[in-house]
Subunit: 458 residues, 2 copies
Amino acid sequence: MKKKLFLSLLFVNSVALFAQNKDEQFFKEIYNSALTKSQCYSWLDHLSNDVGSRLSGSVGAEKAVQYTKSQMEALGFDKVFLQEVMVPHWVRGEKETAYIQDNKTKIKVPICALGGSVATPKNGITAEVIEVHSFEEMKALGTDKIKGKIIFYNRPMNDGAIEAFDAYSGAVDQRYAGAKEAANLGAVGTIVRSMNLRLDDYPHAGGQSYGDIPKEKYIPTAAISTNGAELLSKTLKSNPNLKFYFKQSCQQLEDALSYNVVGEIRGTEHPENIMVVGGHLDSWDLADGSHDDGAGVVQSMEVINIFKNLKYKPKNTLRVVLFMNEENGLRGGKKYEELSLVNKENHIFALESDEGGFTPRGFSLECDDSNFSKITNWKALFEPYLIHSFIKGHTGSDIGPLTGKKIVKAGLKPDSQRYFDYHHAANDKFDAINKRELELGAGTMAALIYMMDQNGIE
Amino acid sequence: MKKKLFLSLLFVNSVALFAQNKDEQFFKEIYNSALTKSQCYSWLDHLSNDVGSRLSGSVGAEKAVQYTKSQMEALGFDKVFLQEVMVPHWVRGEKETAYIQDNKTKIKVPICALGGSVATPKNGITAEVIEVHSFEEMKALGTDKIKGKIIFYNRPMNDGAIEAFDAYSGAVDQRYAGAKEAANLGAVGTIVRSMNLRLDDYPHAGGQSYGDIPKEKYIPTAAISTNGAELLSKTLKSNPNLKFYFKQSCQQLEDALSYNVVGEIRGTEHPENIMVVGGHLDSWDLADGSHDDGAGVVQSMEVINIFKNLKYKPKNTLRVVLFMNEENGLRGGKKYEELSLVNKENHIFALESDEGGFTPRGFSLECDDSNFSKITNWKALFEPYLIHSFIKGHTGSDIGPLTGKKIVKAGLKPDSQRYFDYHHAANDKFDAINKRELELGAGTMAALIYMMDQNGIE
C-alpha cells in the first residue's frame, strides 16, 4: 500500500515536473520569438507614422481599422471580422489660443480643449480666474464668487505616489467632472492642470463629461500644460484680478459608424470557451497614440504571431479584439459585450494591454481568490523575465463590460513612471517607444495566455 | 518553563514586529523624501547641461569635481575632501570622417574613435574590408588574408537576451580587444559595430586596450553606428572589394592630475566601520553622460540629502565617493582602495549605481551566502516600491578594487532595456532622464544603506 502510494506520488510529481519543464521551455521560446522575430514594432511604426492619430469618427480611425484588419488577415486567423459600432464624433477644430492678461501684458500659454467640450464663443472668453484644488474648496466659495469666472483646477498629481496610475486616479476628477461641477456654480469656463507628473509645455487631452446638466449650461473646458499651470498660479498670486483668455472651436458632430476589429482562432479542444486579448484602436487626436494604445493593439496581434511562429494551437478559442472608442465613450467595449450576449458566447479569460508599451512588470487581475492563487502560483515561471507583480485591481476599460459566469480578467502592468509624460499629449509618438520593451510586453501577454489556455480557469 | 519560553518567544516576536514596523515606516519616509524633496534631478541638470561631458583629464571633469565638491559641502557632511589621482588623458581631436567607397560611390557613415585608440595617418586610411563575427572566425582566415585590410567586427548584441547587460557582455570583446587581436594578424585598422541593441545613427564610444602589443603595432580603431554597420555589411555582400576610408586624429596625452570627491559622515556607534555609496564622475566625451554615470553621482549624493531630511544619523561611517576615471582606466577606484589600505580602513559595505538612471528593479550582490540570505530576507520591505530582484553578480567597477575581510558589495539594478540606446553615445543627455525614475533609484539606494546600517553584516 505504502509502496503504491509512494509510486503514485512519484508519478504525480514526475508529471508535475514534466509540465513545469515543458512550460519553462515554452516560456523561453515565447520570449525568444518576441525579442527576435516579432512584427509588433513595425506594425506600430505604420500605425503611428503612416496612419497617425485615430480619434473615434476620424479618417485616421477608419484607416486604422482597415490597416489592422488587413494585417490580421495575413496572420492565419480562422476568421477576421468587423463589428459595427456607432461612436461619438468630436472634432477639435482650429488650434486653441490662450493667454494670461496680466495688466497690460499678454502671456501665451499652451492649452487644448478637453474631449467632448463645447467651443467658446467665436471670439473666445475673457474672465477673471479662481484657482481651486478640489470640488470641496470650490463649493465652499459659493455661487456669488464663482459666477462669471473661469475656474482653474490646479491640484497636481501626487508625486509621492509610487505607481503613476495612483497619482492619476487621485487627480483626474478635475478633468473628468470639473466643467460640470463649475457650471453648476455659474462659472463660464474651466482650465485644468494637465494630468502629467512632470513640468513641461504639453497640454494633455482626455475625456470629460457634463453629466446630466442641461445642454445650455455646458461651459468650455480645456487642459493647460503643467508649466502653464505653474505660471498662471504664480501670476495669480501677484495679481488676483488678472484675466484669462481662451478660444476653442471644437464640436460634437453626429455619431459615426466605426468598428471593432476581431480575429479569431478556433480552439482545438474547447472551441466554445473564448479567450480575448486586446487593446484599443482609437487614440486622442494630438499625436499618434503610440503608447495609448497603439502599443496594446500591436502587442495583442503579436501574441498570435508568436503562437504562429511556435506552431502553438490554442485549446480554447482565442480572439484578438481591437476595440474602438475607449477614449471618449467605450462604445466598442460595450458593443463587444452586447454581441457576446446575443450570441450566447462563453468568455473565460480576457487580457487587455492599455498602460503603454513600457517594460512589463506583471499583471493586475480581476477574478476570485482561487483563480488569483492559481495564477500567482505561476510566478516562478515568469521570474526569469523580470515579471514579478501580480495584484488584484483594475484590468482594462474595454474588457470592463465583459461579463461571464466565471471570467478571469487581466491587465498587463508595464512600468508606469514615464506613462504620464506622454498620455494624451502631442508627444505620444513612435519615438517614445522602445522596441524591446514593447516586445517584452507582447511576450509576457503570450505567456499568460498560454498558461490560461493550458490550465483553464477554476 | 514552558510559560517562560512562551513569554520570551512572545517578547522576541514583538521586538521583531516592532523593528519591522519601524523599517516599513522608515522606507515610506525615504521614498517620500526621494520623490517629493530630492535635489538629484536639479544637480544632474547642472552636471549635464552646465558642466557637460567629463572625460578624464578634460576641463569638464575638472569642473565636475569642483561642482560636486561645492554641492556636497552644503549637504552637512562631517568632511568633504578630494583624493588626488593621476588619470589617462585621451583626446578625440577633430570629428572623425568615414565613408564606404563602393566603386565610384562614396557613402558617408557615422563613426567615432574608440577610447585609447591611436589616430590614423593624417590623410586617413583606405583599405579593403573583411567582415568577421568573432576572433575565432578572424584567426581562421589567417595573416595572409588579413594583412593590409580593415577588420570589421559585426557581431550584434544578442537581442534574445532578457537583460540588456547580458547582451552587452556577449559582444563587447570586439570593442575592447578587437584592435589588439586584428593588429596581431596584420590588419591596418578595425571598425566595430556599436554596442547598441537598436538600429540608429549613433556611434557608441567606449574603452579599448592594445594589451601588451608593442606601440608600433597599434592600429586605429573606431565604432560605427548600427545602421552604418548594417549598410557596410550589405554593401560588402554585393561588392566584397569595396574600400573603407576613415580618418581620426585622437591622441593619448600625458597623464593628468584629477580627483575622487569624497564626503564623509562619521558613524555614531561604529565610526571605524565604513559604508561607501558612489558612482563615477567621469563620462565619455560625446555627450553629458547623464545616464553613465551622472545618474549614479547625483543618486549617491541624494542618499545623504534623504538622510538629512529625515534626520537619520548613520551608526556606521557613511561615505559618498564620486570616482574619477571609471571609463578608461579605473584609476579612481584603484586609488580609493590604495588609500584605504594605507589608512587601514575597514569597509563593511559598498554600493555603486552605474547602470543608468532608469526605474530601479533591485540589486546585484557580491557577498557570502549568509549575507545574501540576510539581505534577501528584506525583500518584503522593498516590495511596495516594486523592488524585486536580488541576485548575485557583478556590482560595480569602481568598488571592484575594494577589499575587506567581510565586505558586502551591492550594485543598483535599474531596468536595463533602454540603457544601450544611450550608452557612450551622443544622445546620453539630460532629456533621456526621467525625474521620478532617477529619484526612485536614489530612494532604493537609501533604503538598502539604511538596512545595512541598522543590521550590519554577518
